[in-house]
Subunit: 434 residues, 2 copies
């Protein structure tokens, strides 16, 4: 038996606001950040579990404190027992009756639980010698169902229904794994579309995106209608009619405003409207979806948990479901959400970008393709070409696709030099700029 | 001009788990706690602003860290400017683009904003020489509407509609203020009903509640159906047919489970079923409300913000709306919620108890009665007789009613001796027990 000997946290921040990378209608000057943790054991196998919550700067210290609040559940625990029953481990953290008051199951505390859970999955995958997507795609339907907390889900998805979904996908697993290695998983890029970029930069980057093989780009909108029309028109002119253009309002609008605004952008053939309003507004999204049809509504990067996703599916609030690796309580809850999406027949196109979100979320889409939905038809993972150089296994994105990682782990691990250089506020990068 | 010179925080915890006070189906052993703050100025008038987030123990340090994350918005700010336009001050905090990522508008960060906003209202009320309820009830409809952030609300409530509601209530304000001083505001008590109490203790406390003049009691349910039937029957036998008995499941059930369980309790004439399922499940609550009718569904103490309350009203998810002084982003957001409830004609019966929640929330109901809904018909504020002795202006509850406080302030201020004794983990109370 080996035990967990350390849970170390780091407040890591990148001064991205200096370049306006990541700028949108709600987030004018983000400093992409990670509340980061490393779990160590006394197993003597050299393996660590790494995980993080992505934030955009201020408050990253609060998120780090929330991860530290989980330390007592983890330190000294039996590693094999924790990793053998990750469903029970999830409940151990998510059902802590005192910590639960701080959500429940939302915001700072819930994301912290996700980071710890993801670090444990990273450790489990490394100990198994597999990348996370392959580890998950090799688990039996029964094992996968046991990972999910069905509390509050059974009016939409029962364990038996989840089993049926997973069993139906089981026969094709090996064939799809082979296809994945040949075709990759489709990617789209948001790199051209940040709100802080000039029209010239937008046009140049949009053309580069097409040259790089992307079949879809995404533009930030919502600050100025006049600007949006001009920028969408410029993008359409740059990429031609065959490339998809999605737009993303980052929660900027009220319900009627969203419908009215989108009427002006509809002529440019919009692939989806993302985050038109509050991520909490299930009924508002449903009204917007009716009002902007046939343009699909996409949301999810700020959807707090599986209970809200469940309702968005029940209400027809979204036609594109955007999971995020670091918003909900980790891999387990994202599996619940993938199962819900499969039950409702809604496509999943993950949110990524930020710091490490691409590295992490690709595993979930690849797992979904092999073992849950069984399809990558009309699905695509967001790609933003920022900050990958800080990870020990940066994503491999080329020819418009994510290519399946082969290194063991969940993709969360940053370079030691990065942790040393970007730690806030005492790392050399920050000491210099503050 | 005076400026804010200090924002001091305290991690205050009471070892309530030793007595099983506050025990329910989801919270077996809470240590009632407050992430507490004091705002000081250089005005030389001796006034401070006090505020807090109520938590139940572990994680109170995370909530305290979140309050500290707001320090830079407050320290050095012009006191008069902040207090003169509390609507702008609310947006200053709630719209911080980087901190917003940690919610948005939910959980740890949102509650921290609420604590700071409430501390500023406490300071404003003290400087005005009025209790908060009277300060608010003296503001014009235009001033009150300016306190509210209507973002994400306009599909249900516009500023003009809010103005109409407030103007309609304006002529009767003075008369209702006089009635309030004579009649008080109705209270009900949860003291008899904690899940950890024996049947004998439940029966004794239920009879005491009736003797004390309460017209309603509340019992915790949801752990064991057999126990619940026995306990509700015992309570009904103790109080007789004229006293209302509400039950509270503290989010324990799934949708169908809630409907089935309540069918067994319905014969005992249940005043409402509170928190039957996840506070995030708007559609689930609506289905339960249809399934348990005519028993009303009550919820709110964990409802994260005005956007979720809006939808619960739109969907018919609740028939009793339970505001909480320390869950949403403070007085301003609770005014938005009171206006939404008035628009939809739904009664408001606040959640209280915990630490200081009674002291704080009474101001909102009294303000609502005078200036918003204009009625206290069928409305009642929760009362739990715990920990009031720690406040400089403890609630005055007798003859089954809250009596309007006359001391200036918002009711949030704890005794200095309490702050010294209960600070975690180094206060004498904790040093002794740890």
């Amino acid at each position: 038996m080996s035990i967990i000997t350390a849970l170390e946290t780091f407040d890591i921040r990148f001064p991205t606001s200096m370049e306006l990378d990541g700028s949108d209608a709600m987030n004018p000057d983000p400093d992409y950040s990670a509340a980061y943790l490393i779990i160590r054991t006394d197993a003597g196998d050299g393996h660590e579990g790494h995980g993080f919550v992505f934030t955009i700067g201020r408050g990253n210290e609060v998120e780090t404190a929330a991860i530290n609040a989980l330390r007592d559940h983890i330190l000294g625990a039996d590693v094999e027992a924790l990793l053998a029953d990750m469903g029970a481990t999830w409940k151990l953290l998510a059902h802590d009756s005192q910590l639960r008051w701080l959500g429940p199951e939302k915001g700072v505390m819930h994301m912290a639980i996700g980071a710890v859970i993801n670090a444990l999955w990273d450790l489990k995958a490394k100990r198994t010698g597999l990348p996370l997507w392959e580890l998950l795609a090799g688990m039996s339907p029964e094992e996968l169902v046991a990972l999910v907390d069905f509390r509050y889900l059974t009016d939409a998805l029962t364990p038996d229904e989840a089993l049926d979904i997973l069993r139906a996908a089981e026969p094709g697993r090996e064939a799809r794994k082979a296809v994945l290695r040949v075709e990759g998983y489709p990617a789209y890029t948001t790199t051209p579309g940040w709100l802080g970029y000039s029209d010239e930069k937008l046009t140049r980057l949009a053309k580069e995106a097409v040259a790089d093989g992307f079949a879809q780009i995404k533009l930030k909108v919502g600050a100025s209608l006049e600007d949006d029309i001009r920028r969408v028109r410029a993008a359409r002119a740059a990429v031609g009619p065959a490339i998809k253009i999605a737009v993303d309002a980052n929660q900027r609008w009220d319900v009627q405003e969203a419908i009215d605004w989108m009427a002006h952008l509809a002529p440019y053939d919009i692939a989806w409207i993302e985050e038109p309003t509050s991520p909490d507004d299930i009924l508002g999204h449903a009204a917007i979806a009716r009002g902007v049809a046939p343009i699909p509504v996409a949301t999810g990067e700020h959807v707090q948990n599986r209970v809200v996703f469940k309702q968005m599916l029940q209400a027809g609030s979204l036609q594109v479901l955007q999971i995020d690796a670091a918003r909900v309580a980790g891999v387990n809850e994202n599996i619940a959400i993938l199962l819900l999406a499969a039950k409702f027949g809604v496509r999943v196109c993950p949110h990524a970008g930020g710091v490490g979100l691409c590295e992490a979320v690709q595993h979930l889409s690849m797992f979904d393709y092999i073992a849950v939905s069984g399809t990558k038809e009309n699905r695509t993972i967001e790609f933003v070409d920022h900050l990958h150089e800080h990870f020990i296994t940066p994503v491999d994105v080329h020819d418009g696709a994510y290519w399946p990682p082969s290194n063991p782990g969940a993709g969360n691990e940053m370079l030691r030099e990065t942790l040393a250089a970007y730690v806030f506020p005492n790392g050399p990068v920050w000491k210099e700029s503050l």
